[in-house]
Symmetry: C2
Subunit: 369 residues, 2 copies
């Protein structure tokens, strides 16, 4: 394993594998013991089960505030994490975070339709923003979020946790080093059985179906595995509209991407079957993971020189969530763009719109940069 | 394993898993010891390494004649397999097989561009025909082959050996029995690195590139795994035309198929990287093989109820080639259509033409039945 070596990666990968040497600004921050404060906005299951417990692992950030529309949640998690009543906000009082110097960073974990509004309001309040993916319901909203962060001179980052997950980083690094030769095919498959009655099945809240929720993992992985930006997009949708879950959003939308090198990606996005895998095949062999982008239990397989075998990595010292949340804090301290910035989220949003257009119109869509 | 039970399979599968009880006509044939005679046309590496040695395993067929344009090959393999000079033909003398009562069956193993001509001439000579896949260079040629066999009241079969391979049959059977629930996604991936200087890279001989040669396995498997016929076809080609291998034929052409049930297939066809795998994912789990359609060493994996594991089958008593070659003999004896008939080959040819059209025109092609 040679993660973290400077200069090894190109393109998307360049931002994904970071240097292991802290800058002077970071060294100072560590020495002073001062951590930046996160307000977590939206206390759904992802926030309370995955994020809140992991902020404690951060070297540069701590939890300082909670935002929720449910008083009982504010009470419960406020007590559990020692957040005083002065640092608990409802949505009506959200803009008052501006006046709270203990809040440096805002993590937006709301339904997709609220991402743009609550990210922009946080930027206007002078805070750095980490927003869950998909970045917004539309590319236009994503552009507005980037503009708001820029106008406020604050950082904007999108919640691509796999960019901070060691197995994913290892696979990217192997591909960039040429372990599989020139990549020719990426397969990237994500899906799960969507249970009825969730906001993700309500288009005004979600902006779309499986592609917005889980297919975006296939899309983003195809980009970080190839290290390239697609130039051609083609998609095929399959949705049983008589299924009440799919009254307003798509079930399955599988798509193909073509990259400048000539590599093609065959991608899967599904709300009716379980998929969590990717593989990059090149002229010399392949490397892949199954499961690939899960919370835990990642599994890497490689085939080189006609032999297939697993790769075992040492146990990570920090979870993907802590590494992700630390990244925004570090970018804020160092005054630089974070990995998985707003620009990264916007690229996916433009591709998502092209995928939908291709399936709707039955034609290949050429991406213009 | 419950292969061979009547009535279990539908659609394509109905023909793939055959009854294990021989008919009266077959029982008579076995009892009399009389086997039908094969002429093998074209003595390239597939014929001499895979087919000739396996005809000896057949219960209903034997090798009785050889056809080749190379006298040294006729001499070598004629001697090796005890084929008298009277039963060795060059292409100029090919039509004289009509007068040889020891030839009942003709196996055409020539370059694709010669399939139609040599199959039709065999039909006109009153012989049953087994022709390698792809059936022909075009769907129009395939239709002419079917018409010629019908006019001669003789059988026509296409060399889809995987229809006779026990692991493939097991997987089909499991899917039809509902082991994975309703199939929602098929991935089917075939490719290899094409070496320069072969007839398969010369369009007039091959009719096309990877799709005609190896991608047809992905296409055919997607159909037999789903048990359905595609209604929508979409494809993306990627060929480095500066590579002298690809002056006239495509390298990579990956494609998507949509089936009437709503299932989608993501398929791979490549001359620049190695692929040999398929998987059917359904609402309850998945079953797949890697490698899937090789000569030997097939490997099945299943994931049901959150557990993944291999499936071991008992060693087959007869090779896929012998089972295939016996099938045409049995169909001839019983006076019925063989499995993997000309109609099956024609379906693939029509889909191949749609795949090429989709990639060329950048649009989805709807199949009309």
């Amino acid at each position: 394993m040679e993660l973290g070596r400077r200069g090894v990666l190109r393109g998307i990968g360049a931002g994904v594998v970071a240097s292991s040497l802290p800058s002077c600004a970071l060294a100072d921050a560590l020495q002073s013991g001062r951590k930046l404060g996160y307000a977590v906005v939206g206390l759904g299951s992802y926030a309370v089960n995955q994020l809140l417990p992991r902020i404690r692992e951060c070297d540069y950030a701590k939890l300082t505030a909670l935002v929720s529309g449910t008083p009982a949640k504010l009470e419960k998690y406020g007590a559990e994490y020692g957040i005083p009543k002065t640092h608990r906000y409802d949505y009506a009082g959200y803009d008052r975070i501006r006046d709270n110097p203990d809040i440096d960073l805002v993590y937006v974990v709301l339904p997709n339709s609220m991402h743009a509004e609550y990210s922009i309001r946080a930027s206007k309040a002078g805070k750095h923003v980490l927003c869950e993916k998909p970045m917004a319901n539309t590319a236009a909203e994503a552009e507005a979020m980037i503009a708001a962060a820029r106008a406020a001179n604050r950082r904007l980052m999108i919640g691509y946790r796999s960019h901070f997950e060691p197995h994913n980083l290892y696979v990217i690094d192997q591909i960039r080093k040429g372990a599989i030769g020139r990549p020719t095919l990426i397969t990237s498959e994500h899906g799960f059985y969507a249970k009825p009655g969730q906001w993700r099945l309500d288009r005004p809240m979600s902006g779309g179906g499986s592609l917005m929720d889980i297919g975006i993992y296939s899309l983003n992985a195809a980009r970080y595995l190839s290290g390239e930006e697609p130039v051609l997009v083609q998609a095929m949708e399959s949705t049983d509209r008589s299924d009440p879950r799919f009254a307003t959003v798509e079930d399955r939308i599988d798509f193909q991407l073509k990259f400048p090198s000539g590599a093609i990606a065959n991608c899967v996005s599904s709300y009716s079957s379980n998929h969590n895998a990717f593989r990059a095949t090149g002229t010399k062999g392949w490397i892949g993971m199954e499961p690939a982008t899960v919370y835990d239990g990642h599994s890497i397989f490689v085939r080189i020189d006609g032999k297939t075998g697993p790769v075992e990595l040492p146990k990570a010292t920090k979870s993907q969530w802590a590494a992700q949340m630390d990244e925004l804090a570090k970018a804020a301290i160092e005054g630089r763009e974070p990995r998985a910035s707003g620009a990264e989220g916007l690229r996916d949003m433009r591709l998502i719109e092209a995928i939908y257009a291709s399936a709707r119109e039955g034609r290949a869509i050429r991406m213009t940069s």
